[in-house]
């Protein structure tokens, strides 16, 4: 894998003296994220003081933009890289705390609804990506990676399945590059479409959670629209992430058979191994909130902790997006990914807009 395309999901973290190596990068995430927040507040304050109606650009966009500028101009010096990679940790801790904003009943109701949409989205995106990959002559392994990446949760899903598919590093880089490039585009396109269609916060959030591939970008796209939309995006995306094990298992079985490799003996253990455990944390916090374990001030504190964690995540999204690398990846996988994503975004949007009046989002 090309070093410039950072592999965000290391899956494991060594607990050792290396903690100190993380500090410079975490400070960089904090500084960039906080600069985004200060910029949003300063523009609002300036507008109010001078009675000018300035557009309210969320801190999310500023944080991503500042991160992009740093990574694509001066680059990220080596001493910061390990800490910048922790953005995935902040994302997950932020998602767990988002649980406080949902009662368990809501999680079950909206999660159940999301699951139906997720099932349709999975079937369509896998079929479509497989067809497109064949049509445009991509290798079968790359096609599998793109199908997994676009159907579930982007980079983590690609990394979770790379071993089973036995894909080349180059193919993994291509797939990750394409998913990240499309994620960056979604950040601009989704909120613009949402505003053009006057979508409600809940419908938009569900759409972002269902159609934007990478968890960080899906969360950011929701938060860019509104705070409430961000909350729904997290729920829909979390539901989608929960299915990762099943899809990766299916692909692993297919490739094990094809490559004559060893079969997966214990499928239950495999599913548990691939299951995103932070989903359990999200449900746990939601359960505690539903049981009135927290008072109102504590609920606000937990929701705010989630926002701070996301602040670092969004800075990380900008910092790890290297536009030069994406350009180098070649156009074909990107084109296949873009056509597929466009169709998936259209389909999920149509499903949600069609179902919204029935579901009272």
């Amino acid at each position: 894998m090309h070093p410039a395309i950072s592999e965000p999901s290391k899956r494991t973290v060594a607990i050792s003296g290396s903690f100190f190596r993380l500090i410079p990068g975490i400070l960089l995430l904090t500084v960039i994220g906080y600069a985004g927040k200060v910029t949003e507040q300063s523009i609002t304050t300036y507008g109010k003081a001078h009675h000018i109606a300035l557009p309210n650009i969320e801190y999310v966009l500023w944080a991503i933009l500042f991160g992009l500028i740093v990574s694509n101009t001066i680059g990220i010096p080596a001493m910061f890289r390990a800490g910048v990679d922790t953005y995935e940790f902040w994302l997950k801790i932020g998602i767990v705390f988002q649980g406080v904003r949902f009662m368990v009943g809501d999680v079950l109701r909206l999660g159940g609804t999301s699951l139906v949409f997720v099932a349709i989205e999975l079937a369509v995106s896998i079929a479509l990506m497989t067809w497109l990959g064949r049509r445009f002559g991509l290798s079968e392994k790359l096609t599998s990676l793109l199908a997994i990446g676009s159907s579930i949760c982007g980079v983590s899903a690609i990394i979770a399945s790379r071993g089973a598919i036995d894909a080349d590093d180059e193919e993994v880089s291509y797939a990750i590059g394409a998913i990240l490039a499309l994620g960056a585009f979604s950040l601009l396109a989704f909120p613009a479409i949402g505003h053009a269609l006057h979508m409600s916060d809940s419908t938009f959030g569900m759409w972002a959670g269902l159609a934007v591939d990478n968890t960080a970008e899906a969360t950011a796209a929701g938060a860019l629209y509104s705070d409430a939309a961000g909350k729904f995006a997290v729920l829909a995306k979390t539901t989608r992430n929960a299915t990762i094990g099943f899809v990766v298992l299916a692909y692993s079985l297919y490739w094990a058979k094809k490559n004559g490799g060893k079969e997966i003996a214990n499928k239950g253990a495999f599913l548990w191994q691939k299951f995103p455990k932070f989903v359990l944390g999200f449900i746990g916090i939601s359960l505690l909130a539903s049981l009135s374990v927290f008072n109102k001030a504590q609920m606000t504190d937990l929701a705010n902790l989630s926002r701070w964690a996301f602040l670092l995540t969004f800075a990380g999204v900008g910092l790890r997006t290297d536009l030069r690398e994406i350009r180098k990846q070649g156009l074909r996988p990107l084109f296949v990914g873009a056509v597929g994503e466009f169709a998936i975004a259209g389909l999920t949007l149509a499903m949600l807009l069609g179902a919204a009046p029935l579901l009272h989002f």
Partner: protein, 31 residues
Amino acid sequence: MRKISVDWLAVIGAIALTFLVWAGALPDIPW
């Protein structure tokens, strides 16, 4: 060297912080 997944680390970290908030051990978290 002991290793732990990022997912579990996030869950453990969140539980620890939640406990501190619940116990009133942290100041109010502003936004």
